[in-house]
């Protein structure tokens, strides 16, 4: 019973925050709404017995990626003529039913699957120990390749963003 209420609270808030992210004119407001949406998603992950993923979400997504977004938004000093004409006014909201149609096609397919309840799982299902057991044994090579990927990304970002030295 409590799980149902929490699912609807977290899910509803996440959907609301995602909608606000898309329709707002000010990019800082958009970024902050997205941070709230990511926190609500982390709550959903805890409901789904994935505490490791939930903490990773808060640390990495809400804590690092969104901070990077806000840094860049502040750095760029956007003026009004960059933001003008981008506001989602009523004529643009008419395109929302098209998006809703896309969502509806997916939802209709999902609803034909019937009510699939969650089977009971072990008590420490998504605990860090379990995830680490799989991550460092079966997925060790992708893990190492991901670290090389991050190194390449760091080098690329430093080269791209550095000022031209004249």
């Amino acid at each position: 019973m409590g799980e149902t209420i929490l699912f609807y609270i977290f899910g509803g808030l996440a959907l609301l925050m995602v909608f606000l992210t898309v329709v707002q004119k000010n990019p800082v407001a958009s970024a902050l709404c997205l941070v709230l949406a990511l926190f609500n998603l982390a709550g959903l992950y805890v409901l789904l017995m994935a505490p490791f993923v939930a903490v990773m979400q808060v640390l990495v997504y809400a804590g690092a990626i969104m901070v990077l977004f806000i840094f860049v938004i502040m750095l760029l000093k956007l003026r009004d003529q960059d933001l003008i004409d981008d506001q989602v006014t009523l004529p643009k909201l008419i395109s929302l039913p098209l998006a809703a149609l896309f969502i509806y096609i997916l939802v209709k397919k999902f609803l034909t699957l019937g009510p699939l309840a969650f089977p009971p799982v072990d008590a420490n299902f998504g605990a860090p120990k379990e995830v680490a057991g799989v991550l460092f044994s079966k997925y060790l090579i992708p893990f190492e390749i991901t670290s090389i990927l991050l190194l390449v990304a760091i080098i690329g970002v430093v080269l791209l963003a550095k000022k031209e030295s004249r």
Partner: protein, 101 residues
């Protein structure tokens, strides 16, 4: 009513659709990037819900990799945005149309 995996899949589909709508609709490049992150998070939610349904922890590892790749992609994408802004002082997607006819 008990929450089934279909509830989570529908929520994930709705988030993905809203992110897709945002990518197509908005002209501010930063907001387009944020909508791409929304779509990635919707995919992550699908992975975690199905992990709980099938009882396999491998999907949590996949979510971990998706987050790492999303971080790298966001960093490089934002560096490109900074370069574009330096070049032309605008980040509207309809101002960059050199390759258009």
């Amino acid at each position: 009513m008990e929450i089934t995996v279909v509830h989570y899949l529908i929520l994930s589909a709705a988030m993905f659709g809203l992110g897709l709508w945002g990518v197509v609709l908005r002209k501010n490049l930063l907001i387009v990037f944020m909508c791409i992150e929304i779509m990635l998070n919707a995919a992550n939610l699908t992975f975690v819900a199905l992990a709980r349904y099938f009882g396999k922890v491998e999907a949590h590892v996949v979510v971990f990799f998706v987050m790492a790749v999303a971080a790298a992609e966001a960093a490089v994408g934002l560096a490109i945005v900074i370069m574009m802004y330096r070049n032309r002082q605008t980040i509207r997607t309809d101002e960059w149309k050199i390759m258009g006819g």
